[in-house]
């Protein structure tokens, strides 16, 4: 029998030692008896019955000698050899993407993949080395070319599912790089092969796939957004749910706001389809919205309504979070003669401060960049500010639009009912006395058409700046006297100030986030959804942002400044001014009645000013249809990325495109290695049977040592049974 460590047989030297211990005089306890007469005769009898009696008394010695011998052999690590099924160098790629958390196999796919990988390593030839790559959102080498299988087992055992979309191609690329270092290398990929598209990579080593998973039952939240209505008054929630199963599913959608259940709705999901759910009137005090997909089963909408049971195979995509952007004061500058209708309508906007300035006073000193919206009423500066602009009755041509004339009592054309700016706005009874005749710029869309294609109101993105142009002065119409006017102004302000802009994009897991450092703070503290905190400090003093990459957990992260008092909001997009109030010549308008821009008009700031020390929150959501599609794919696409360099001798040969049948074939120019040495056989160490033998011997030795106790018990039972029978 071949031995790995034959030197350990030196442990057999303990055998004479054990014998010597037995030969040495035993230290006996002295016991005084009236006479040793009978005992002497007894000892004489025992000696007369030798050698059987001696053998019987030496049974323990024999067992101990056998035990020492087996232990010595065990330490020498005997083994048997058999043909190896794997190459000498293995690069083990284990998929840890979110879909590997599917529970269609117990306990989940990742654990099954780990077990399959470790089982496959039994075919590793003796002395073979293993590298392990975790294929999550990024590929990580967690063990590099080690021959210590214990370390491999530990490294593989420590792998956990990342709730992020995986990048198997990146991992295969990395595995190919590792495999190219040696001639006889093989890549083993343990994955569910749930790939949206085949990995676009080629590696110069044979690839073997250990595929796990069998189910495809999954429904997922693939989008979540909180939209603010153009009026900035109400918010609505938009949820998109995808049923990736081949059967329809009944699920319950729960909407939680700051830990409170706001709404629960049963949804029926058709197979292989997406359903969009809109929920209106989100309470204003809600800061974080969480959507859960719970329950399931036909006719049992309440099943799992407590949110604990996940009726599909992948639970990680059944929850999503969204952060409601905080209300903040928006600042509007009214440049013009001071139309009381216009200033009054603007002052009624929620969370808005209105400032007024005369056209001649407007200039760089006004700091137009500090305002969210500048309304030019009957005037236009020579140089347009880099902010949102509402031009009312533009006097001349400008980049905002070309004035080609004037219109007398223009009629209002057909309105688009889907136009968000005209939401709730009824212009049917509006009459306009005079208006500018404008040419619709290419960047704009017509909101209120006029006669002959001349727009009366249009809006659009001009060089990235939201811009709207009203072709007439309000006081030149009866519009200010109608209820439609404040609605129109509100919708326009929302359109221009981003009220209906795109929702804050959810951050994908394991994606770095750029976090702004507020003035006065020296760092940031990020609290993860699991409660763990991370203190971040800028790499260089005075840096404005810090990159945070620890977004591996789904949920809402909270960022607070550390090391000082922030003097302004830490928001990345910033406030109009550091101290929260515009500087320059603009004057706050104190009263709606005061039409003059020189007078002050009250700002209708119903929302409190933004707390400069309030934490920033951002949500990390999976939102990956590819990962939520857990149906196991074909291993052939992954196998095809490799090149068969030697005849496959393993059971997975059918899945491997063994293109080369010559053992001496080169695995590719990238290897640069010589002819491949004959593959070493795999070794199976015999520690298992030997350990069992040791345990058995210990049991026998114990039984021999305690045999008197067994006999006593047997006699006691034998003595009691007749008594019971007699009773």
């Amino acid at each position: 029998m071949p031995l790995i460590a034959p030197l350990a047989l030196a442990g057999l030297a303990f055998i004479p030692l054990v014998v010597a211990f037995y030969l040495l005089k035993l230290r006996r306890d002295e016991h005084v008896v009236p006479s040793t007469l009978l005992w002497q005769r007894l000892v004489a009898d025992v000696e007369a019955n030798a050698p059987w009696q001696r053998l019987r008394r030496s049974l323990l010695l024999l067992l101990q000698l056998l035990l020492v011998a087996i232990l010595a052999v065990l330490a020498a690590r005997p083994f048997v050899e058999r043909p190896a099924g794997l190459a000498r160098d293995i690069v083990l790629v284990i998929d840890t993407s979110a879909s590997m958390g599917a529970t269609d196999v117990f306990p989940n796919r990742l654990e099954a993949a780990k077990q399959a990988a470790l089982d496959a390593l039994r075919d590793l030839p003796s002395g073979g080395s293993v590298s392990v790559i975790a294929a999550g959102s990024t590929a990580r080498v967690i063990a590099n070319g080690t021959t210590d299988l214990g370390r491999i087992r530990q490294a593989v055992g420590n792998l956990v599912v990342e709730p992020a979309a995986g990048d198997l191609a990146d991992a295969l690329r990395l595995a190919g790089g590792l495999a190219s270092r040696v001639a006889d290398a093989e890549i083993v990929v343990a994955t569910d092969a749930a790939l949206a598209r085949p990995p676009d990579v080629r590696v110069d080593a044979p690839v073997k796939v250990l595929r796990v998973g069998r189910g495809r039952r999954n429904q997922a939240i693939v989008a979540l957004a909180v939209r603010t209505a153009p009026s900035s008054v109400t918010r609505s929630i938009f949820v998109s749910i995808a049923n990736l199963d081949l059967e329809s599913a009944d699920r319950r959608l729960e909407v939680w706001g700051d830990g409170r259940l706001l709404e629960a709705r049963d949804v029926k999901l058709d197979p292989q389809s997406r359903s969009d759910v809109g929920i209106d009137d989100l309470p204003r005090d809600v800061g974080v919205v969480e959507v859960r997909l719970v329950g399931g089963g036909t006719g049992a909408p309440t099943a799992g309504a407590d949110g604990t049971a996940a009726p599909d195979d992948l639970a990680v995509d059944d929850r999503a979070w969204a952060v409601v952007p905080p209300d903040r004061l928006r600042k509007v500058l009214l440049v013009g003669a001071g139309d009381p209708y216009l200033s009054t309508a603007l002052s009624y906007l929620p969370d808005t401060e209105v400032y007024g300035v005369a056209p001649e006073a407007y200039g760089p000193a006004t700091h137009p960049e500090l305002f969210d919206l500048i309304v030019f009423e009957g005037t236009l500066p020579a140089e347009l500010p880099r902010t949102a602009i509402l031009a009312v009755d533009p006097p001349s041509s400008s980049p905002l639009g070309e004035v080609v004339g004037s219109l007398k009592e223009p009629t209002i054309g057909t309105l688009d009912p889907e136009e968000p700016v005209l939401h709730f706005v009824d212009l049917a009874t509006t009459h306009i006395a005079a208006a500018r005749k404008l040419v619709l710029p290419a960047w704009a869309r017509t909101i209120v058409p006029g006669p002959g294609g001349a727009p009366l109101l249009y809006a659009g993105q001009r060089a990235g700046l939201r811009t709207a142009v009203l072709a007439f002065a309000p006081r030149q119409s009866d519009l200010p006297l109608q209820v439609a006017f404040p609605l129109l102004i509100s919708n326009l302000a929302g359109e221009l100030m981003g009220g209906s802009g795109a929702p804050p994009t959810a951050i994908a897991p394991a994606t770095p986030v750029e976090l702004a450092i507020p003035a006065g703070a020296t760092g940031l503290r990020v609290t993860a959804p699991d409660g763990s905190t991370t203190d971040l400090a800028p790499a260089t003093p005075g840096a404005a942002t810090i990159t945070f990459s620890g977004t591996g957990t789904l949920g809402v992260y909270e960022v607070r400044p550390t090391g000082g008092r922030a003097s302004s909001s830490p928001s990345a997009d910033g406030s109009p001014a550091a101290d929260g109030s515009p500087a320059g010549t603009a004057i706050p308008l104190s009263s709606p009645a005061a039409a003059s821009p020189g007078a002050s008009v009250a700002a209708s700031a119903s929302a409190p000013p933004v707390d400069p020390n309030a934490p920033i929150r951002f949500a990390v959501d999976l939102f990956s249809v590819e990962e939520s599609t857990i149906a196991p794919g074909s291993a052939a696409a992954i196998v095809a990325t490799g090149s068969g360099a030697r005849p496959a001798t393993d059971p997975g040969a059918s899945a491997s495109p063994a293109t080369s049948t010559s053992p001496g074939a080169s695995v590719g120019p990238a290897t640069g290695a010589g002819p491949i040495a004959p593959r070493a056989p795999a070794r199976d160490e015999l520690w298992g049977p030997l350990l069992l033998a040791v345990l058995g011997l210990l049991l026998v030795e114990w039984a021999v040592y305690e045999r008197d106790g067994f006999v006593r018990i047997r006699r006691a039972i034998g003595a009691r049974l007749p008594r019971r029978r007699a009773a």
């Binding site: 008896v33 009236p34 005992w39």
Partner: protein, 326 residues
């Protein structure tokens, strides 16, 4: 229950009055008396009703209560003998003369006393056991001696220790019970080894005439067989009360031990396990069976007992069953 033989009486001496049924109570003389819980008055009365049995009449010394081989003056008719000169004319049977016209003298059985020799093994090995074997031996000797004294026999107690037998003065009459008890109380274990055969031979040499010899011993001597043979050869009837302690009958030993002889100090190395104990018990039974067989052969009575056997059971059960007492 068992107290040392030489235990002091209770402080008030109240129960001492019951000891051996004395009329006058003298606590000072009862210091070495037996434990009253064992020898109370009732027990003594019961003892007095017993008699040590002899298989054959033996020639005694003084007038006593036992049939002698001699013809004497008892009331029990034995035989006729022709009249010769010098015979007592009062013994002539005139009825026979009337019928046969020949003179015959009526002979009657003589009643004499018998010497009961109680040999108490006082070797060091007898001082072991719980209860102590020597204590049991002295109590048994007291009980048997009391029976003997009550039967108007002569009772002689000899303590066997060393190579000699220390013979005490012969006692006769039930009034000497206290003396008997005092002598028994004075017996202590020997310090050194005891040669039981030599001591028994010494005791045998002190025997006068045939009588009853009671040996109370553990027989833990290599020449115990010869002891029995020699005593049986004295012509006296022999009763062997073989006493062993419960620890000797059922040892509570386990493990690797060095057993040290209490008398000689010699050691024996043994590994005691269940099989060893089984062998020991077998060996012990064989050893005792050997004594029993030898006793039968020598017309002796062999009474194997444990030192935890109550004296009443010994006397009223064991000895009666073996027709030693009745």
């Amino acid at each position: 229950m068992m107290e040392p033989l030489a235990a002091s009486p209770p402080p008030d001496g109240s129960s001492a009055a019951a000891v051996v049924g004395l009329r006058s109570t003298r606590p000072a003389q009862l210091e070495n008396a037996l434990d009253p819980t064992v020898f109370d008055e009732t027990f003594l009365r019961q003892l007095e009703r017993l008699k040590l049995l002899l298989r054959q009449p033996v020639r005694g010394g003084l007038k006593g209560g036992r049939r002698s081989v001699k013809r004497g003056r008892s009331v029990e008719f034995a035989d006729y003998r022709e009249y010769t000169l010098g015979d007592d004319l009062r013994q002539l049977d005139w009825n026979v003369y009337a019928r046969l016209e020949r003179l015959f003298v009526k002979l009657f059985v003589e009643e004499e006393d018998v010497t009961i020799s109680i040999l108490v093994d006082a070797s060091a090995s007898m001082a072991s056991g719980r209860p102590e074997k020597l204590l049991f031996a002295k109590r048994a000797a007291a009980a048997l001696g009391t029976i003997g004294l009550a039967s108007e026999d002569r009772v002689v107690v000899s303590a066997l220790s060393g190579r000699a037998a220390r013979r005490h003065v012969a006692l006769r009459g039930s009034g000497r019970v206290l003396r008997l008890l005092a002598e028994l109380s004075a017996i202590g274990p020997a310090d050194g080894p005891t040669d039981l055969l030599a001591a028994v031979r010494h005791a045998g040499a002190q025997l006068r005439g045939r009588g009853l010899v009671i040996l109370i011993s553990d027989l833990l001597d290599p020449s115990a067989d010869r002891v029995i043979r020699d005593l049986a050869a004295t012509g006296s009837e022999l009763v062997i009360i073989h006493v062993l302690s419960p620890e000797e009958l059922d040892p509570l030993l386990e493990g690797d031990l060095r057993l040290v002889d209490a008398e000689t100090g010699a050691g024996v190395d043994v590994t005691v396990d269940l099989s060893t104990l089984d062998d020991y018990r077998t060996r012990l039974a064989t050893w005792r069976d050997g004594f029993a067989a030898l006793a039968v052969k020598r017309r002796a009575s062999y009474v194997p007992v444990g030192s935890d056997l109550p004296i009443a059971d010994l006397v009223f059960a064991e000895l009666r069953r073996r027709q030693v007492a009745g």
